[in-house]
Symmetry: C5
Subunit: 100 residues, 5 copies
C-alpha cells in the first residue's frame, strides 16, 4: 500500500456500469523526498476522504474488497482508499537504504 | 487507476482469439509535471473514447470486468478505459509531497 | 498492455514444468522518447512473432489466457505476446501530458 | 518480493472494516545504491517487526495469505511483511547488470 | 518476466508459515544499460540456481505455480525463478525504442 494526499476529484459521466456511482479521488503519493512526486493515482473512496487528508491506498483485489466487501469481483476499479491517516511516526535514520 | 489522454490506435490482425474484435487505444498517462511522460499504455476500449479525450484507465481484473462484465476471465487484456473524464478538479497546493 | 519490439530469444533447458515447451522472446518496450528504454521484458509467444516485429504484450492472467486459453492457471508465466502489430497511428500533439 | 527496513508506523482510526485491527508499518525498500530510495511502502505485519529491522515484503495475494492464511480474500491489503531477515549474503561482483 | 543474475541469498528464521522451508535468492535484474540497475528482487527458488547464474523470474500467480504446482494459492510469495538460462540471443539493433 502507499501513503498519499487527496488533492482533487475526477468527474466522469460516461463510465463502465461496473464502477458507476463511485467517487474517484486524485491522490498524490507521498515520499521521503524533498522534491514531490509528479505522479498521481486515481482512487475510489467510500470513507469520505477530503482534500488535504492523508490516506492509505491499495491496489487490485484489496481495493475492490475495501469498496464492495460483499462482491469485490463485480467492480472494475483497481485502486482505493482503505484508510484515513491520523498519524505517521517515522524515523528516517532507522534506514540508510542499502542492503548490508 | 490513472488518468491519460487518447493519442492513437493500434491495429493488429494477428491476435490472440481471446482479445479479437477489441479496439486498442494508445493512451498517454497524465501527471503534474511540466515535462510530459514518455510512456504510453495500450488500453482496450468499449466506451468510444476518441483522440484528445481524457480517460480513466484500470489494470488487471478491473480492465477485463469493464470490457466484458459477464465473463472477464475470458479476456487476454490487462488495461482498459473505464471512464471518459468530464472534469478534473485539483488543488496541487493541498500536498507538498512529503510524509510528515 | 504495452508495445514492444522483439529483439531476441531466451533458451532455458532447466525450467519449471509449468512453462516447459514455451518460446520466450526478449521484448524491448517502445515509448515516445528520443532515448530508447534500457529495460527488456521476457514474453511467452505462440503467435510466431519474429525479430524486429512490433507486438502488443500483456501481463498476468491476460498473458496466461493468451498462451493457454483452456487452462490459464496451469502456467507459470506472467507476460506474453497477445498481438502482432500491423500499424500504430498516433498524434503526439493530442496530449501535452499534463492534468489540466 | 523486496527487502526493506522498518522505519515507522501508520495510525488510521477510520479504515475499511476489511483491514481493521491490523498493524501498518512504514517500510523503506533497500537497494544496491549509494543514494537511498525515497519511496516507502506501507505493509501489514503480524510477525512483530520493529524499527530498524530488515524484512522481506510481498504484494497481492501473497501479502493477504501471510496475514490471514485461512481467508486471504477477506482482506483489503496488498502488501505485508512475510519474514524478518537474519542475514543477507550478497556478492555484487557476481553481476555486471547487463544482458550478454 | 525478467532476466536476472543470482547475487546472493536471504536467511529469515521468523517467517510466515505459508513460506517456510523456501530458499530465497537475491536476484539482480539485467538490462541493456551500461550502468547496472541498483534494484534487487527477492525470488523463491526450487530449481537450484546458484550465484552468477542467469535466471528467468516471474511475479504473482506464476511464481507460486512454479514453486508449488499443486496448490499455488497456499504460498505467500510473489516472485520466483521459473528457469535457468542457457543462452540469450539478442540483436539490439532490431529496435530503436521508439513508436513509429
Amino acid at each position: 500500500m502507499f501513503l498519499g494526499k487527496v488533492i482533487g476529484t475526477v468527474w466522469a459521466t460516461k463510465k463502465s456500469d461496473t464502477c458507476a456511482n463511485l467517487r474517484f479521488l486524485v491522490v498524490h503519493p507521498l515520499n521521503l523526498k524533498k522534491a514531490p512526486s509528479t505522479d498521481v493515482v486515481i482512487c475510489a473512496d467510500t470513507l469520505g476522504a477530503g482534500p488535504g487528508e492523508t490516506v492509505i491506498c491499495a491496489y487490485g483485489h484489496a481495493a475492490r474488497k475495501a469498496i464492495h466487501p460483499d462482491a469485490p469481483a463485480e467492480l472494475s476499479i483497481e485502486a482505493a482508499v482503505i484508510g484515513i491517516v491520523d498519524r505517521v511516526d517515522i524515523d528516517e535514520d532507522a534506514s540508510d537504504g542499502k542492503i548490508t
